[in-house]
Symmetry: C2
Subunit: 403 residues, 2 copies
């Protein structure tokens, strides 16, 4: 994403939802500096930039659908892991450069499915293991140190780790299916799929009223978030001071959080509101009137806090300026296993410079005391160094691999 569009993008993030952006950019036909629509005939023609200082898909107003695919490198014959990774990143750069702009990939066998990208973004990152495998462990950003175990984790290896992550987001599920097909088949002999998580928010344009998304537990989710360019530069984008090649990149933490819906349903509304610290109806903090009102954690009635100190918002909120990070979550709702009614929850996605100073201290507080803990279970966890953006003529990962 070009610097130029960030202010607009972040304003949309503040407003909350992809739908809000949709309402502005798609339905009224207006074009901002970030997303642009090349022709009429539906929002499908709206495109996000591919080239820029940062990869798109992070500061981008969240699209309705997302797919996160983790892959492991499978070097073939005498080719090194590093050469394998380089080949993958070259192919993906070429594919993504075209597909995000509504043009078929090279040798795209279903080129018509590329015509309406619907704000497709393709965002690529490397896992902890990849740096070892390509012999560049010394180039691993400090922010990539492994997350500590949290007491509430119940991690299933099938939702953890991975050498490479491919994050695809678009406002149309057809676009995700085609893009994921093209990108994965072009590297199938070089990779093995480790996991795939598919998520969604409200459909593009279903709600022009704005406000943050709801999760499937019914809560307004993601109110406290980063919104201005200075905050992104301070908390999200790496400045290259430690690893020059990583300037403009960021570290993504993906946590798969299962909602224990059967138990959650047994809690009444006031119980749910005390657990979260916000009203279910409108997402307003229990001390406020509207979603974006600042919570007052000091407010009390006869010494009893209005927002319980173990409520989710009391613990999830940053306690120092440095704890802030970008949240960009998606809901999931998969086919449940035998005998279960629902398999749903949140693909919690956080972007930051250094998780140990941002996500980790917040998550440690939550693991210790979050009132929500009885109703949620973290079953997957992975961390990726999301590569810096590239300019035209260069391939993703070039600053890491070129020297």
């Amino acid at each position: 994403m070009g610097e130029h569009g960030l202010a607009v993008s972040r304003r949309h993030l503040l407003a909350g939802s992809a739908a809000a952006l949709a309402a502005g950019a798609g339905l009224s036909g207006c074009v901002d500096t970030q997303s642009s629509s090349r022709s009429g005939g539906g929002f499908g023609h709206t495109v996000e930039p591919f080239f820029g200082r940062h990869q798109s898909g992070i500061a981008t107003a969240p699209q309705a659908h997302a797919s996160f695919v983790a892959l492991d490198l499978v070097p073939q014959g005498s080719r090194s892991a590093r050469a394998t990774l380089e080949a993958i990143l070259k192919v993906w750069t070429s594919d993504a450069e075209r597909l995000t702009q509504g043009r078929p990939a090279l040798a795209d066998t279903e080129p018509e499915l590329a015509e309406r990208p619907a704000r497709l973004t393709v965002t690529v990152g490397l896992g902890h293991s990849a740096f070892e495998r390509i012999g560049l462990a010394h180039r691993r950003p400090r922010g990539m140190s492994p997350l500590p175990p949290f007491s509430t984790d119940r991690l299933d290896p099938r939702w953890c780790g991975g050498d490479i992550v491919l994050q695809l987001c678009a406002d149309d599920p057809m676009v995700l299916a085609h893009t994921s097909r093209v990108l994965l088949k072009n590297v199938r002999s070089l990779t093995r799929q480790r996991w795939r998580q598919s998520g969604f928010r409200n459909a593009h344009g279903s709600n022009q009223a704005g406000g943050s998304m709801r999760n499937l537990m019914g809560q307004v989710d993601g109110t406290a978030n980063l919104h201005d360019e200075a905050a992104f530069d301070r908390h999200v984008w790496d400045d290259g001071s430690e690893q020059p090649w990583f300037a403009g990149g960021t570290v993504m933490v993906v946590r798969r959080i299962r909602a224990e819906m059967d138990a959650w349903d047994e809690l009444d509304r006031s119980g749910k509101e005390l657990v979260v610290g916000r009203r279910l109806a409108d997402g307003a903090p229990l001390t406020g009137k509207q979603e974006f009102d600042e919570p007052d954690f000091e407010a009390n009635v006869g010494g009893i806090p209005v927002i319980p100190p173990t409520s989710h918002i009391a613990l999830a909120r940053h306690r120092t300026e440095d704890e802030q990070f970008l949240r960009r979550p998606y809901n999931y709702d998969d086919t449940p296993g035998s005998g279960e009614t629902t398999d749903s929850g949140l693909i919690f996605v956080a972007y930051q410079r250094e998780p140990s100073k941002q996500f980790v201290p917040v998550q440690e507080r939550l693991a210790a005391a979050d009132g929500l803990n009885p109703w949620i279970t973290t079953i997957g966890s992975a961390t990726f160094a999301m590569l810096p953006g590239v300019e035209e003529g260069h391939a993703l990962g070039g600053s890491l691999l070129a020297t």
Copy 2:
């Protein structure tokens, strides 16, 4: 759906896609007699009728997302299977009557997720086995006789059969997740889930240009379809002459058709066009200029037919008037198994009075000779008697169970 809205609905079906309806009803704010929007603020408020002579979700212009859930009855204690089914249908009628109109279900634990139904339809049917289990085998519509085996079938039992089907369609994936949670949890002690298939088309509003949907093989799909009220009455809606209780119902055939994408990719474009009989670029028959041009199966060059006699459209097309039926397919794209790149294909859904005279003869021709056969595999099959619609104050299935 009320009779009143059918002409409009069928016109939209002819026009092709949910997106086309979206463009008309949602974006311009106009209200037709079928879908109606109760307030501004995005298409999410658009509703489909619940009461009427027929269930909605069949003649309804296809929504962007669909979920098909097959359940088996699990009678508890001394309660009979018939009483169990009756209890399920009463609960679902009450839930669907509310949820489709943007109102929470009774005791809805996430009522805010019901506010924007986005053209939600809830459509319920009974499988062959259900009629035996409730002691009403003599009431089973003639159209429910089991499908014959087809030579190309490779059926996996985990995608076959079921006592009850719940078909949910909406233009917003959040709505499907919430609706499916509510409806399934309310009957969880009375049912066991057999399978669930989730499908999609282009997002609502992504393409205002119209035209039929494409499937993930890149083909324009569903051009030949029913469109006028007389055709629905003749080919889709049961007239009650054999089973009076079934008047206004229809028989749904759901086939899960896996696309063998790796092999399909190896075929060049002209090969694909000859296999299908239509041009990939615009869906026009090889003898025509536009998608809805009538194919000319007699056209030939020096005796060689322009549209091969084993092309998909040559065989899938009805050879007698009686072979016509309604197609309402969805794409699927699930997480592939270990070592595979893609698990995608088509949830082929057909509605008709009597499959043995409509779907079956067509499918027999396709199984024998369809040029597409090397690239597709039918792995699931199920048939359901989709219940007649109901008027306010009555429960689904009342005409079957009341006497």
